[in-house]
Amino acid sequence: MSETVLETHDLVKHFPLTQGIVFQRQVGAVKAVDGVNIQLRRGETLGIVGESGCGKSTLAKLLTGLETPTSGSIAVHGTDLSTLSPQQVRKARRDIQLVMQDPYTSLNPRMTVADIIGEPFEIHADVAPKGSRRAKVQELIDLVGLNPDHVNRYPHQFSGGQRQRIGIARALALRPAIIVCDEPVSALDVSVQAQVMNLLERLQGELDLSYIFIAHDLSVVRHIADRVGVMYLGQVMEIGSDTDIYDHPTHPYTQALLSAVPVPDPTLRGLRDEIVLEGDVPSPADPPSGCPFRTRCWKAEDICAEERPPLVERPAHPHPSACHFAEERDVVHATVED
């Protein structure tokens, strides 16, 4: 097992809800991320999946320093960031970079490609001496497969896929160990998606990167991830290798998610075990007690309301799953009964 590059411990992010005419008092909180523990190993891709609103993006923001955690900690290369001075944090942050979802809005329309990709060097001036920056930018452009002649163009002159490459190049500039990809391909056409995914995979090999890959599309995650975590209402429900999750899901929520993935083979449609969840996702401002999924779970019993199931490995199921009644059920592979 290689070293752990990133680790979170009981990471929590609550957004306060306030009310009042003159003096605003806090009346509650949106529990966007509510006790997340993940580890990311060197060279690994950890996929995070979940429905929209489950806290994936907040997790990405916490990891990249765009939000400060309410409690819990983030450790990079074994060092807890909260113990460092602001100066040191800034330095440590270089190791975690972000690729954003929408390539149309994530690039400053008033800056040329060269400026965008070169900006990290200006912010962290000690990384590259002034004279070498231009060459480094060219290098990055090469690396992500863009035409080097286009460095002086503006973002709106590029296609979505090209723009996402620019975004990736920007993230790579500081030679980070970790890249958090927040839905990096969901805004792209399917054909372009594949190119970007391939680029990410190639870069991982070449540069020894670790990815946190956030997506709502299970198949995309399966394609790229070594391990997968499933999030629901700010918590990780189940985590394990891609085969663990896709072929041997033990958490009812994971099973429900997987059963909703469209089946490409029309002859097999309608044959597999489909789980239709009832009700809506509860409000993250007022999540259910105990297991957050219990309100929609067909297996729920009294204990689910009383006790929050820990995310642990259970006998017979070797990967962690936060369910009192974790049990494998194959929902992906349709069985043709003949």
Partner: protein
């Protein structure tokens, strides 16, 4: 009077002009080498707009009067003889003589400078002050925003003209600086509002978040990312504001608190001769014409600029 605040919401309609300026993949495919930017595109559109070019031409003429009046006339506007008072236009004196028997054409030329200076000084300061306050307020939010917004509310709730009168009553002296000061004290709020709105919109845009994730400082984010993308509506409004400040100077002068003779602004010329409208209408016609032309040009240029920068019209 033409009150700057009367154009308030007119300009706010223009949002950050880049939103959705997304080009299709086809754009990238066409590999013309020249880089083009939003301002570049806008420039192309402006050059093709006859209204804008005419306004610009007029403003250039007026500006040249203000900068180098000697280009336009050899007459000394203060070489006067009371015996020539209010003589109608003749050869060599196309605008006739004013009340004091000075060459009126020379006065009209020299009058451009104070009128434009006040508008320019006031607009520059208003953009600087209002822009800074709007930027800080929108960017940092929280208690700073609360305080700055309350202060903005206070100034906004004072009627523009009355506030300007109070400021001018305070200083007593009447020159370009004090008149500009009165316009500034009351004028910055609208810019601050526009700026704040744009900044709040821009603050949460992805590319700002991206810069933040890179570890960019607040200063860098404000000046490199937010400001360039929010300044367009402010500049459009500022152009229109230039026009309304030219008119405001005339109005303040009419009320007796603007510039005073011997200063030769258009407002002073209008004020000095308005009572002769029945008998010697040309005395009013020339300064009013120049003034209306200037205000008109600024407004039309501002309009054209807004259209050129409006992504929805592209």
């Amino acid at each position: 009077m033409t009150d700057p605040s009367s154009m308030t919401t007119g300009a706010t309609g223009t949002t950050a002009p880049d939103a959705g300026a997304g080009a299709d993949d086809a754009v990238a495919a066409s590999g013309s080498g020249k880089p083009s930017s939003l301002w570049g595109d806008a420039r192309k559109r402006l050059v093709r707009s006859p209204v804008f070019m005419l306004s610009l031409l007029y403003l250039l003429v007026v500006t040249s009067m203000a900068v180098a009046p000697k280009l336009w006339t050899r007459q000394d506007p203060f070489d006067c003889s009371i015996s020539l008072s209010r003589q109608p236009p003749t050869d060599g004196h196309p605008f006739g003589y004013n009340l004091l028997g000075c060459d009126y054409y020379a006065h009209a030329i020299y009058g451009a400078r104070p009128s434009l200076s006040i508008a320019l000084v006031a607009t520059a300061a208003v953009v600087l002050i209002g822009g800074t306050i709007g930027l800080l307020s929108g960017f940092f939010g929280g208690w700073l925003d609360a305080i700055l917004s309350r202060i903005t509310d206070i100034f906004l709730s004072l009627p523009f003209l009355l506030g300007a009168l109070v400021v001018l009553a305070m200083v007593s002296a009447r020159n370009i600086w004090t008149v500009a000061l009165a316009l500034i004290v009351l004028g910055w709020t609208t810019i601050a509002r526009i700026m704040r709105g744009s900044v709040i919109e821009a603050r949460n845009l992805d590319y700002v978040q991206a810069a933040r994730a890179l570890g960019a400082t607040n200063g860098r984010i404000m000046f490199r990312h937010i400001l360039p993308n929010t300044i367009a509506p402010v500049l459009v409004y500022a152009t229109i504001m230039l026009g309304s400040f030219v008119a405001a100077e005339a109005t303040l002068t009419y009320l007796g608190v603007g510039l005073q003779p011997p200063a030769a602004s258009w407002g002073v010329m209008i004020n000095m001769h308005q009572v002769y409208f029945d008998t010697d209408p040309w005395l009013l016609f020339f300064p009013v014409g120049l003034l209306v032309g200037t205000v008109l040009s600024f407004i039309l240029a501002g309009d054209a600029l807004r259209d050129a920068l409006d992504p929805k019209l592209q």
